[in-house]
Subunit: 378 residues, 3 copies
């Protein structure tokens, strides 16, 4: 944990803020900072010799895997007539536009215009190329200043490679600003939304810590009644063999990523660890693509996790669907009201807003109504 | 009948107005006056312990029926994060938001925030509550100044409760400004639109009366040829046993409602009475929900009306579908031209426009493109 | 060929223009000049006594065929309440609005308002009528200054009536500005787009000629490999019996029309001749309707063309679908970028842009978002 500036007990400050954050800029108009590595596709979706379309914050990106196996990321518009390069053809390590067959190298430079002779003059500049890395089964690009890419680390996920954990991967479009997702996960008082699958939970905030780039909350969860879904049971006990009457949940926004660790009572290690990031799609960042890696501790009995896998997936899909319903409703309300009228009473959430605001960037001015929208598939 | 200021014979004034109403404000930008009772749902759609979403002129409303049977109407956005309360849960007489479980009383005040202690400070203000009344199988709300609600009467419909009449209820979304609906019904020269079901009718305007809040027209209808639909026959003769070669039709806009009585030749009472209102849905009031109560006189032979019922409903549905096709085409033309270019030649219609303009209110400035639209179900 | 001002060999000027056309107006905001005859429907779609809706550049047009067989074109909005006249009823040579039964003559003047007496004063002005001509199985209208209609010739298509040719007719909506279509056809370097059906073609520009209203390009096509679709084979050899290793293709924009003639090696006449025009639909001209007449030389063996017909149609449909995919992608990029960032390197295309710009007209200011869109059927 880095950059923790202050500790604060959950009850140390009045949780009631009767006025919205007047005077502050509207968080839903703050853009995600591009100077980080963001996943824009699952690795297995970018097959050798194939090209797909993806996007970051309104920048359309063509991802292709050359014959030697490396993935390249180019601005998804031919320099000639702006036809998407993702409609093109991979040839070795180059990508050829489908229309007039201009060919590009992985860095975006033009390698050939078939109908121009060598002596015909200076060929036009190419297109933007993005730094690319593959890790954790995801293709990451660096949409910010290219010179910062080498200095910026990919997120570290020790559990991903550990033999003690197995990873379930999620990738879903959500029609909301990424900030709603951070607020959703950090405010565990929303368990009422999941009452149908988790029963009646009493979350108690034990402690929270806020830094310039991070907010961390530690909750104690007590199950106080109601029927709990079998998938929820399995997920909370896997790898630990324990089922406590109360579990500890540590949730952390570490800009721009988010993590959640669940530690059952008296267990030495988390029963599961979630890593997530919400990648804005359109230029107005009113939609995002949620990528999640759920690393589940393997139980001592070999094969047990394999059997539990479908139930755990069904449980997590349902929880995610409920969360999505709520955050998309928030986004719709914001669009109708054309401003943020949230009236937050939980200090933790005011803190994470400040972190997201302070680390974000201004939205680029939109170039018209038809900006890159949510229909874009990944 | 109230507020009739002047009488005017249909032929007393030149029916030709070669110029549109230049200098007047665009009627399609005049909002419905909220200081009246408007139906926003059928009573049977709001079941005990259930909540539904409805709207008046861009104000989203959550309607719920508490355990004691009373219907409550709240602003459909939680004060906390603006998630629709219509996604929530009814508990006794309160409504609990689905997300963080904030609970509201029927008047909109917050009754509980589960994770806030009593001593945690002043809870935030709640949401707006609307006065509600149920009558005629409809749920009415009063969207205007609340203190006027008690002073404002519900419409009086003596035929509704009378043993001599039976009521057929209509509830349909129409994609047009409510004013097109008033003009449609008052101008009986549009019978050409219904030629397939009513044959060839010759409507003659006998008399019209205009007040500050009302316009009334009395027509003589003569059937001059063409085949008449069986449902039309039944509707025009029910309860009276008579089928005249000419019927009298009295149509009245009594702001904001509208009525139509059909009295067959030599009959003592109307064969049917229609009461209707067109409730704007979106903030720009380009869509409305038409509510209609068609009160049909019972014939002397018991059970005859029961047998005729499906034919009458089919006939009225077809007439309504034809009217809707026309008024929605008018709305689309208005949207394309971005102004009202209607060129009215019928003085009655100029009068009802003046009544609708004079009793209406300015549209509230829209807060962006995504205002509450026609997709909203009731 | 008229108005040829200058000849220029294809290689006479550097084909590389590293800068876009800075300082020039955005071609995609140039309207099609209305002072020409434009097809707006297939003749067979306008049946006697019937009316259909069509459009030119946001002007909605009602086309109807009177009992005497002549087609009339009226502004598609009743002068009364703007309901589309295309929803109306043809009576003899007049068109009656479906709503209040106002009747119009073929020139747009009102012939009757049923409920107005003769002495009731001056009837309002009617609606706009368009000059109409039928030729080549198409209904042409003249949307410009009416007095110019008689002075403006329909396009001349001698092959259409010739017994040596048979015509295949096309009519398709395309979601792009008409200029993308001209550029697509003139730049034969886009054969890569059709590689799946035409194999590997090497187009060599032999010569181009540019006038104030026209651009003509002469290409030599050499088939250098790859499998060629059977329909392509048939189309290129019909009527000539020859299959050269290289064919000559002459493509010409003769504002606002476009033609393409294919002459096989050593043949005396074209194997086919294409005539096309791209008629803008919406007011912003971001969509068009492509009309094409493909006149195919009849072979000496009677009936052979009949047998080849389905294969030729399938081939041309596929080529058109590929072209449409490309030009619609260009349009989408333009809309996202809200300006033309094309970076043309082929002088011929710079020339045709200049011709389209110089002969076009300013777009009329749009009257709001809901202008006549691509959903309009013809």
């Amino acid at each position: 944990m880095t950059e923790i500036d202050s500790d604060r007990a959950g009850s140390g400050r009045s949780p009631v803020h009767p006025q919205p954050e007047s005077g502050l800029s509207d968080l839903r108009r703050v853009g995600a900072n591009p100077d980080y590595w963001y996943p824009v596709a699952l690795s297995r979706k970018v097959r050798t010799g194939q090209v797909i379309a993806t996007a970051f914050a309104g920048e359309r990106i063509a991802l292709y895997r050359g014959e030697n196996g490396a993935v390249h990321a180019l601005e998804d518009r031919c320099a000639h007539r702006q036809v998407p390069l993702s409609m093109g053809v991979v040839e070795g390590e180059t990508l050829r536009c489908c229309y007039h067959a201009w060919a590009y190298r992985g860095d975006g430079r033009i390698s050939q215009i078939p109908y121009l002779s060598k002596g015909d003059g200076r060929p036009p500049r190419g297109v933007r190329g993005y730094p690319v890395r593959e890790a954790y089964g995801l293709v990451f690009v660096f949409p910010g200043a290219p010179e910062k890419a080498a200095l910026t680390a990919l997120p570290e996920l020790p559990a991903f490679g550990s033999p003690a954990y197995k990873t379930m991967t999620f990738c879903r479009p959500v029609r909301c600003h990424y900030s709603f997702m951070h607020e959703n996960l950090l405010d565990m008082n929303h368990q009422f939304l999941h009452r149908g699958v988790v029963g009646k939970l009493h979350p108690q905030l034990l402690e929270s810590r806020t830094g310039t780039r991070s907010v961390e909350a530690r909750y104690l969860f007590t199950h106080v009644g109601g029927k709990r879904n079998r998938g929820a049971e399995l997920l909370a006990t896997e790898g630990t063999g324990r089922r406590g009457s109360s579990d500890t949940m540590i949730i952390r926004t570490d800009y721009p990523y988010q993590t959640l660790d669940l530690v059952p009572q008296n267990a030495e290690r988390p029963a599961f660890r979630l890593w997530a990031v919400y990648v804005p799609e359109g230029a107005e960042q009113r939609t995002c693509h949620a990528y999640g890696l759920l690393m589940i501790a393997k139980p001592r009995i070999p094969g047990a996790l394999h059997l539990a896998w479908p139930l755990i997936r069904r449980f997590t899909e349902r929880v995610f669907a409920e969360d999505r319903m709520a955050v998309e409703a928030e986004q719709r309300a914001w669009e109708e009201q054309n401003e943020d009228r949230n009236h937050e009473v939980f200090p933790l959430i005011l803190d994470v807003r400040e972190v997201l605001r302070g680390n974000g960037v201004p939205l680029r001015p939109s170039s018209g109504a038809a900006a890159c929208g949510p229909a874009l598939g990944v």
